[in-house]
């Protein structure tokens, strides 16, 4: 996101904040958040070469969220009148966005000119009919919820695997009468799908397990599409989010103070520190250009800090925007590079993603192995669960060998960390009693963890295994860089 885009989002949040200074207007906060979120999805969607796709993908985002609500809400808990108002609001917003085609030939709220209005209206009508029919189903079968999760994972894979994305692009180009020969994976970039998929799977799974609190359509959609966190997280939990959403926003100076501080901090981290470090950070071009291992290390350190400041800067901005509209988003980073073990690092790096995987992958897998594969020794269960969880996290970033290796790097690291902690438990218990030794081991542990994580970024930052291994060799002076 550009600085200008973020300034506009700050303007929207401040506008809602100021509106809520008037007690009579406070009830409009949630509908305004919904409208603003829908508009922002369209506005931030990158332009795509396939005709109309940059309009229909945001529409699909909204419809997927609506479908998620239908599947996860209990019929008896729905309030028909309230649902109709929200549905009308969604339809009006989408239609309003489509109507901007008559104001400009290039697109005002959309990356390109929206499609013909009658087509949009027709799609809205048909979708409303389908949604209405689906909503008549009293209780979606467990299998249907599972099918929805599988469907989301398949879409996710299609978006992350270049051959599949290329194939999808070819099909879509055929449908729009464009040349199939020009189809490329880059043609389909669905803004925010990774994050919305996580939120959807979370609500679908919690619905299956009966943990999901009842939510209105408006609340569910604001949770799914909340514009400060839509694109880069944090991945809040629904029950936590709606607690704040249900609290009326009574603007207080501390909202501005908290929001302002986090926004300034986030803007500084992202646009001053991260963007500066990006110039010298390791990338696919510079990886093999460094003249000496010292420079390779410098580029790698720059990458490690760049990715941290970039990502945590965005989180600060999201938290700041949330504070302005009265939503307290969860923290996503807590000084991860200052943690003395890899386990602690992952407790403090992209916290909401880690927690999501822990809740919906690691814990169920561990339970499964401990109950269904009793022959496996404890250490093997730990290895399998750590390794697969981290590989899954890697694959979430992209379906490439390098992300698999990055995940495996951390999975193995976590396993070693776990075994080491078990083996040295007795010694570790005595260390705090000796301050000098405690300080020394803590410092060495932080340095070791930081460097393990930093070396792992080699897999993450580079596109292929061959380049990564060359960089590893260069870092340790083992191979001559070209």
């Amino acid at each position: 996101m550009s600085l200008a885009s973020i300034l506009v989002l700050i303007g929207i949040s401040l506008g809602i904040h100021i509106l809520c200074l008037f007690p009579g207007a406070r009830r409009f906060r949630n509908p305004l958040l919904l409208i603003a979120s829908i508009i922002v999805i369209f506005w931030l969607q990158p332009a795509l070469p396939i005709r109309g796709l940059d309009f229909w993908l945001p529409v699909a985002t909204v419809f997927t969220a609506v479908l998620g609500w239908i599947l996860t809400s209990k019929a008896e808990e729905r309030e028909p009148a309230r649902t109709r108002v929200t549905a009308a609001l969604i339809a009006a917003t989408l239609l309003g966005i489509a109507l901007t085609r008559y104001i400009s030939n290039t697109g005002i709220l959309t990356p390109s000119r929206p499609p013909q209005t009658y087509i949009v209206a027709l799609v809205l009508l048909i979708s409303a009919g389908i949604f209405f029919a689906l909503s008549r189903v009293k209780k979606p079968a467990r299998a249907l919820l599972s099918a929805a999760i599988v469907g989301l994972i398949l879409i996710f894979l299609a978006l992350k695997m270049p051959p599949l994305t290329g194939l999808a692009s070819s099909v879509l180009r055929g449908l729009t009468g464009q040349s199939r020969e020009l189809a490329a994976a880059f043609d389909i970039r669905w803004l925010g799908f990774s994050y919305i998929a996580f939120r959807l799977i979370h609500t679908l799974r919690d619905r299956q397990s009966g943990h999901l609190p009842p939510m209105s359509l408006e609340e569910y959609l604001v949770y799914m599409l909340f514009f400060p966190a839509f694109n880069a997280g944090p991945i809040d939990r629904a029950e936590r989010f709606i607690k704040w959403l249900r609290l009326p926003l009574t603007p207080e100076p501390h909202h501005l103070e908290e929001g302002g501080k986090r926004l300034l901090l986030g803007l500084f981290k992202k646009f001053v520190i991260a963007d500066t470090l990006a110039i010298i950070a390791l990338n696919s071009t510079s990886a093999l250009q460094a003249q000496g291992s010292g420079w390779s290390w410098l580029m790698l350190y720059a990458y490690g800090f760049q990715i941290f400041f970039d990502f945590s800067g965005y989180t600060d901005i999201a938290i700041g925007l949330g504070a302005l509209v009265g939503i307290r988003l969860p923290e996503n980073f807590n000084q991860p590079y200052l943690k003395p073990s890899l386990t602690r690092f992952w407790d403090n790096w992209h916290i909401t993603l880690t927690q999501w995987f822990r809740a919906y992958f690691f814990n169920p897998l561990t339970r499964f192995l401990r109950t269904k594969a009793r022959w496996m020794p404890a250490w093997l269960v730990i290895l399998v669960t750590q390794l697969t969880t981290m590989v899954m996290i890697g694959l979430w970033h992209g379906v490439t060998w390098n992300f698999v290796l990055w995940g495996a790097w951390h999975g193995i690291g976590l396993f070693i960390n776990n075994r080491w902690s078990s083996a040295t438990r007795g010694f570790a218990a005595q260390v705090p009693e000796r301050p000098a030794l405690n300080g020394l081991t803590n410092t060495l542990s932080i340095l070791l963890t930081f460097h393990y994580v930093t070396l792992g970024w080699v897999w993450f930052a580079l596109p292929d295994v061959a380049t990564s291994t060359q960089v590893f060799a260069g870092l340790f002076g083992l191979g001559a860089l070209p």
Binding site: P253, L256, E257, I279, I280, T285, Q289, W295, L298
Partner: protein, 364 residues
Amino acid sequence: MNYRFIRNVILKGLLLFLVINFAWALFEGTNSSHFSLYNGLLKGRERLPYGDNPAESYNLSLYDIDAMLASHRLNGTPKRADEYRVIVLGDSSTWGTLLRPEETLAGLLDAAGMQTDDGRQLRFYNLGYPTLSLVKDLMILEEAMRYAPDLILWPVTLESFPRQNQLESPIVANNSARVNALISNYSLNLTPLEENTSFWQRTLIGQRRALADRLRLQIYGVMWSATGIDQAYPADYTPAQRDLENNEDYYEWAPPEIPENGLAFDLVSAGMRIAGEVPVILVNEPMLVSEGENSNIRYNYYYPRWVYDEYRQAFNTACSTNGWTCLDLWDAVPQEHFTNTAIHRDAYGEALFAQRITESGLIP
């Protein structure tokens, strides 16, 4: 915490911002140009900063000549007693488009390890800059004189001479004070540029672009130091045209003669005056002499034959009339050794050019 406190914070912040801006305008001005991490923390650049694609070239174009020179190796190399310092001026062909620093004219001559009769080592510094304008050369020469050169090597081509083009390039247009001082001090036959010397222009806000460029120059210096790369080398490029148009026009000039005062030889005279006692070798640099279609009318994309022949005649006349030391090497490089323009040579072509200069005996 109340709204009044927040209002006060915002007002104080604004006030501080204004004070810093005014203080910058009053006390600092453009003096920060000389600040540089190059030649200290970072390796000095082999040629002046220039580049359209910083992400690939680790280089960028800026208009601050002080900052540009501060980043150059020349700025961090104290002149030793046994050094005979040669500064090489010129356009993009001197700078070395598509050439690595060691393949440029200055790089090749430097690597030749030449010595003067009294045993001093000849050291060559590339101060070429990719703009065809003699005024630009004068601006750089004026600054370069601070580095005590013993010899100036000044390759030129006709495209640098038309009077009407002198002030067109961005680096010239954005250095109006320097240019106007040159026009005034050396009575150049050019119309002074409009100067923007307002107070507002000197504030942090007014200088934000220049400051950002200077900062970026320092940051890209890390990548230059790390990689030794200072320009993007495309895997492929469009070669200079060999088949030419059947057209004899050169700007608004038509055969048979260049208009009087059309070529700015007075700027070369100014250069000689700037150099003072330091000898200058003026070189008419090699250009592509095409053998393709319509090559009987034009030498290359830039030059119809008639205008270039006229220019050469004027060049040689000016040299002999004024007693300048000149070398006319216009056809020293075969056409197959030019790259993407009619004046950009490949590494072999540059070596031929360097060899001809060395063989001329003009370099001590």
